[in-house]
Symmetry: C2
Subunit: 348 residues, 2 copies
DNA sequence: TTGTACGCGTTATCAT
DNA sequence: ATGATAACGCGTACAA
């Protein structure tokens, strides 16, 4: 019942020819006679011969595997990026090895070391919270010094010379804040994380810039910094008790959704009394009640671009020392949590 | 600047010893003299020698890679399963290669063929919609006949002899329906998919059984079958116009959330007028407004168990022909979309 | 104590 | 037209 994988050697033995003849015949080499080729090809087909990937990898020093290291997979944004990577990579004949750092520096290091020992041709990754907190990128330096191409996406660092794909987070923050201002909102709160997240930093910056540009004051007590995990509703509730707001910008989806609930419970009607915009246009924004206007990150596009950049580097033998940073423009998906002064946006 | 990976051969050449001496020394073999060992180990450490995974794979015929083939990764349930698999697998020194079938039969076949040629030691997978629709499992048969272990989870089939992990979907459907009945609901609608999803079939069965056991009538016009993707709210709205309901069971999260919105728009108050229970306890259920009571699938646990089963098979050289099916018991996470007659359930 | 030789499966180069 | 050989990197049985 067990039909073990057949190798060139088996075929050679069975057909009483040499291994190299079999190899050539299966590659349809001109060197081999019509007869032998047909015989060998038929036999190979019959026994469903397929070359062993590992052997080929060893020989070619190319695995056709891409290592993807992300902080978390139970997270809509990363998930869309992985999907984008998969799509492009598969199409190019690459497999995707996914490793999770769980936001931990140590796990990120361990995973990368595992993969760097020949398992993959290159990395696509987004830095873990721990790594950004530590501000330690030696594991990345080691990998790039070995000549393994790396593409960073979303959570990146200037410390490493490599290709990068980011969205213009500052622009996203700016656009969203501007939209609130254009609706006539003047008291706009910002829900954000701590500053070691590069993305939050940039989004905050956009928020400030938009306020400034519109001659509005930046008030520190209108900014709430929440821990990335384990949000406590009470903290949000207290925050909104302290200040009077008519607009809320959240640097992610979760904070935004939670803010909407808290505000609704306090009796505010969204968007009549308060407009809310979140980041990371995911399932929650789409299915919230009211559905939440949000800044789309285009994770799938990001993944595709990252994969494209990586595979190009992997397949070009030239040791270029030139790195690009692709900046994706964010988009606002207008939904029910904001007013619609210009009647725009379908939402879905 | 480029510090290419060093091999045994390099070390041997540099230290003027044989490759096997180096190999043994690095394994701390008793055969090698203290002196040489120290010299070699120091050198290896200095140049950060790490054995090449590919070479080891070729030699051992073991890749330490697990192939995971799932229909979709932008999907909370699958994502939690992947996380569970990763957790267990990493701990055991395995990498996880994730491939997406995109619910397509063809893609599933192609991906499996790619991986089956030596890239992985075994598969963990959940059948694509296309595969279940086609009812064609030859690609799985081929793989198992080659002696590659397979573990199916969630969307499984009786056609293949292999280890399986499922939740007791019928029990989940039963429990949920029973809960609605216990709340005093008598007109319970069922939102489901088409029958070729094994999970839906089982959940439906639980629904029927619970009604029967409670002496309630099973009415066909209380059952709405929706396409898996692209739900149209209008269809749901029309459905609820045709019938009078006080309870809704949805075989997934999305249908449930959509039903809540539609019902709320029609003026019903949840859970005062109508209770709603969904399946797949994910982000949407948790953050819905009101938050949705739902049947938890315990994807992480499922993933861990699947990984455990697979790795056990992979690492046991005995060719057992005995396969287990692990059945995970579902749990109801009580939230705000149902009444709380017994004051149970924390939610969150 | 150290080294030689072989094998894992494949391909490419160089004989025959 | 076919075959022998070496090489990819490693490990190990066996020889010295």
């Amino acid at each position: 019942m067990l039909k073990k994988k057949i190798t060139l050697k088996h075929i050679a033995r069975e057909l009483d020819v040499s291994i190299s003849t079999v190899s050539k015949a299966l590659k349809n080499s001109e060197e081999i006679s019509r007869d032998t080729k047909e015989k060998i090809q038929a036999f190979a087909k019959l026994y469903n011969y397929k070359p062993n990937n590992i052997a080929i990898s060893l020989k070619n020093k190319r695995t056709k595997n891409i290592g993807v290291v992300i902080p978390d997979i139970v997270h809509h944004f990363f998930t869309t990026v992985v999907k984008g990577i998969e799509k492009y990579a598969n199409q190019k004949g690459y497999n995707v090895i996914v490793c999770l750092s769980d936001e931990s520096f140590d796990k990120e290091v361990i995973n990368m070391e595992m993969l760097a020992n020949g398992s993959i041709d290159g990395f696509i990754m987004s830095l873990s919270a721990g790594t950004q907190e530590n501000d330690d990128y030696n594991h990345l330096k080691e990998v790039t010094e070995q000549g393994i191409p790396v593409v960073l996406f979303d959570r990146v660092t200037d410390e490493i010379d490599c290709d990068k794909v980011v969205i213009d987070d500052q622009q996203g923050g700016y656009m969203a804040t501007k939209k609130l201002i254009d609706e006539g909102r003047k008291q706009i709160a910002l829900l954000t994380t701590h500053d070691y997240f590069s993305v939050s930093r940039d989004r905050n910056e956009g928020y400030r810039k938009a306020l400034l540009d519109s001659g509005l004051e930046i008030k520190d007590d209108y900014i709430l910094r929440l821990p990335y995990m384990d949000i406590e509703e009470q903290v949000i509730s207290d925050f909104f008790d302290r200040i009077e707001v008519d607009g809320v910008l959240s640097v992610n989806e979760i904070f935004g959704i939670n803010a909407m609930r808290v505000l609704q419970r306090k009796g505010y009607v969204i968007p009549d009394d308060i407009s809310v915009i979140g980041f990371t246009d995911g399932l929650l924004s789409k299915h919230a009640n009211p559905s939440m206007t949000s800044v789309a990150q285009h994770g799938d596009k990001m993944g595709e671009i990252a994969a494209k950049m990586l595979i190009e580097k992997v397949e070009s033998d030239v040791e270029e020392e030139t790195y690009k940073t692709e900046i994706i423009q964010p988009t606002i998906v207008a939904r029910e949590s904001t007013l619609n002064p210009n009647g725009a946006g379908s939402g879905n």
